[in-house]
Amino acid sequence: MFRLEARPQPSRFWIAVTPILAVIATMIAGGLMFAVLGKDPLASIRMIFWDPLMGEYAFYYRGQLLTKAGPLILIAIGLSIGFRAGIWNIGAEGQYIIGAICGAGVALAAYPVQAWYIFPLMVLAGGLGGWAWGMIPAILRNRFGTNEILVSLMLVYVAQHLLSSMALGLMRNPEGMGFPGSRNLQQYPSAANPELIAGTGIHWGVVAAFLSVIVAYVFMSRHMTGFQIRLMGESPRAATFAGVIPKRVVTFTLGLSGALAGLAGLFEVSGPAGQITIDFASGYGFTAIIVAFLGRLHPIGIMLGGLLMALTYVGGNLVQQQAGLPAAAIQAFQGMLLFFLLAFDLLSAYRVRLVKREHR
């Protein structure tokens, strides 16, 4: 019989090793699932994890990798700061959509003026839009004690309907022959967020993501506000005693995570997506929650987690197209990753001991 014993201190070794174990376990369990679906498990796993990086057409997929990882990392960094404080914004998807709508709105309003300041204004609008959407749960929580988890999640659905309305109504391309969707911002140079170095997939959003990793790292480990955020997550009463004002932390973290999600949306709509469409929202805001935990809420970990998650996206697409696996199988595969990660987390806080069964 196994027994769990609490460690006096979390083990640093296991904190570092569990993500690797989780990936291996996901490969095994995912391989079994693929086998049940009648596919060659080894080939499928290889297609997900190896081909996008080293396969024949890797030059194409490697670019996609950063394009996918960028928004995941940017959103997850914002979320992780709130999660550290015990404030659970799970509505990043909504903030992402509103950021995209606001940013695209600036571009569409300015069209067809060509000027250098249009893109910076869009960035500002995108960030502000996400921030404002994040402030709704913050204000409701501070004023009325509502639960930010529920409010932020519900606001995702509101945002999705707003998105449909925009794609079909206000922002519909007047020259689009009646098809839903806005003008394509990639064809509007002052508003476009193009690939900066050909073939790498790096656009301004990816740059912002990597910058956010560095800033978040310094902020959380060196700055007093970052320390207070961690303190509040560790022990709310100790934080109040140390002079932290919880309402301010709520406002700050929900605003910040909203703003970063909004920026991610803006960079996406002006870059890879190009336009506001009904199906613009692709779940980055939800996947980023997985990425934040995959990275153990640590900026460097989130960067690696975002890259890994992007790999499962790109590789997942590949395996869908080439091996004909259903999209749901890929989602289940990604879910397993989070599941195993959380399950193995136990090892860092507890040690497992083998004990003889006690006779009763």
């Binding site: 700055h223 007093m224 022990s235």
Partner: protein, 503 residues
């Protein structure tokens, strides 16, 4: 007398520590048997084995001649062993009878139960209304509920864990009467305490534990408190000392402090007035739950009050935040070490930064000077003899006494003008408690005003110059400690002003 419970070679080890090593002793029928020892001596592990909460690694127990190996408390209760825990497990919003029903396996109908509660409570002179709501009861009455809950099972052995830590002297007397009566009827009582005077008046026999081993058995009525303490600690003890200094000017002024409690079962503060001078140690006694927590929060700034209600050196601070108060020199150390005074999963140097940032300049332009924070933590660890491998260890990895030394040291080393501490030595071993008391007295001698809130009257009488009692959210007139008698203090704790008594 016949032996009721006999322990032979009980051993229980946890990773890294042997909690009990080869413990053997007997408890006789009708005996009040004291189990003495410092925190961490293994008293609670031993009691948990007797009550079936923990299984021994080796060793045997016999109860009334029969082998006794309880796997869970239910079996222990069925065999006639009952226990009153130090922390009560009662639901504030339910009645006495409802609470008692919840703990019973085969609860009788409510009316019958209420009648039995009344019978037991009259038989043992423990007045208690079965229909009273727990939230309205005093701590002493709540303890009565726990005792009656045990007595309803007609136990052969009653275990009491630190039962008097929350009682007034008068309530203690009532409790002792009950226990003596039970013993007279043949019930054995295992009485855990570190209050030596009590043990000397109440108990027939004492077993002393140190570091998990029995280091002595004695008749406490024939030993002095000092002898018992030295057996417990294993070394000679020194009492805290202080040169008599004349108090200086008023450093802390509290005027008409009233505040609603944030807790529905808390106590509102009602018009508290108090002056504390430089160089003075002010003791605040009283039974827990009479406004101590609310008083503490109002002073620390966690629950700000009206601006003019609290003044430090003539500056109004009542509505300031905790850090603004720290800047002015008003520091506090709350009662609960883990989760309030310190963050359990954070390292000691992070915990040093927690309150030390303002006065020790541990950050510049918002950026933390980690080296300075570590140096500060190191300073605390050395000055207060905190036993830890390194300041990188987490707060929760420290023992209670060591963490308390750290928490008090953290505030003392910030050279406060006014330091307010709540239960500074609660659950702390005798050596650490002595060190903490000495540090507080030294701080006062250096010119700070020190306020100690405590339920330990012996502690307050030992260290404070003046003593006031908090009762139902009101503070009595402070009186010089050396003119007070125990009886007067007891009446003050019960809510009567000492003036009426002495007048």
């Amino acid at each position: 007398m016949t032996t009721l419970l006999s322990l032979k070679g009980l051993t229980k080890a946890y990773p890294g520590v042997v909690a009990n090593n080869n413990v053997s002793f007997d408890i006789d029928e009708g005996q009040i048997h004291a189990l003495l020892g410092e925190n961490g001596a293994g008293k609670s592990t031993l009691v948990k084995m007797i009550y079936g909460l923990v299984r021994p690694d080796s060793g045997q127990m016999t109860l009334a001649g029969q082998p006794y190996q309880p796997h869970e408390p239910r079996e222990a209760r069925a065999a006639g062993v009952a226990m009153v825990f130090q922390h009560f497990s009662l639901f504030d919003a339910l009645t006495v009878a409802e609470n008692i029903t919840l703990g019973m396996e085969n609860a009788p109908p409510r009316r019958e139960l209420s009648q039995r509660i009344r019978d037991v409570s009259t038989a043992y002179e423990l007045p208690l209304d079965p229909d009273a709501i727990i939230g309205d009861l005093s701590v002493g009455e709540r303890q009565r509920v726990e005792i009656i809950r045990c007595l309803l099972q007609e136990p052969k052995l009653l275990i009491m864990d630190e039962p008097t830590s929350v009682l007034t002297p008068q309530e203690v007397e009532v409790l002792f009467k009950t226990l003596n009566r039970l013993a007279g009827e043949g019930t054995a009582i295992l009485y855990i305490s570190h209050k030596l005077e009590e043990i000397r008046t109440l108990c027939h026999h004492a077993t002393i534990l140190r570091q998990g081993e029995v280091v002595g058995e004695t008749d406490p009525t024939r030993s002095t408190a000092r002898e018992l303490a030295e057996m417990m600690v294993g070394e000679a003890l020194s009492s805290p000392t202080r040169k008599n200094t004349r108090p200086g000017k008023v450093a802390l002024e509290i005027r008409g402090l009233s505040a609603r409690s944030g807790n529905p079962f808390g106590t509102d503060l009602d018009e508290i007035d108090l002056d504390v001078r430089e160089g003075e140690v002010m003791g605040i006694g009283g039974v827990a739950g009479n406004g101590q927590d609310e008083f503490m929060l109002a002073l620390s700034g966690e629950a700000p009050v009206a601006r003019a209600m609290v003044r430090v050196d003539g500056v109004d601070v009542g509505d300031l935040t905790p850090n603004e108060r720290r800047e002015i020199g008003l520091l506090t150390a709350p009662e609960e070490r883990l989760g309030h005074a310190a963050a359990p999963n954070m390292t000691l140097f992070e915990n040093a930064l927690m309150t030390g940032n303002v006065r020790r300049n541990l950050s510049r332009h918002g950026f933390i000077r980690w080296k300075a924070a570590m140096a500060f933590a190191d300073e605390i660890v050395h000055a207060f003899d905190v036993r830890t491998p390194s300041v990188r260890n987490t707060a929760k990895s420290l023992s209670g006494g060591n963490l308390q030394k750290f928490v008090i040291g953290r505030e003392v080393l910030q050279t406060p003008r006014v330091l307010v501490v709540n239960q500074p030595t609660w659950g702390v071993d005798a050596a650490a408690a002595a060190a903490i008391r000495q540090a507080l007295m030294d701080l006062a001698e250096a010119g700070a005003a020190v306020v100690i809130i405590s339920q330990d009257l012996d502690e307050l009488l030992e260290v404070s110059d003046r003593l006031a009692i908090l009762h139902a959210g009101r503070l009595s007139q402070p009186r010089a400690t050396d003119e007070l008698t125990m009886e007067e203090i007891g009446l003050m704790m019960g809510g009567m002003e000492a003036q009426h008594v002495s007048a």
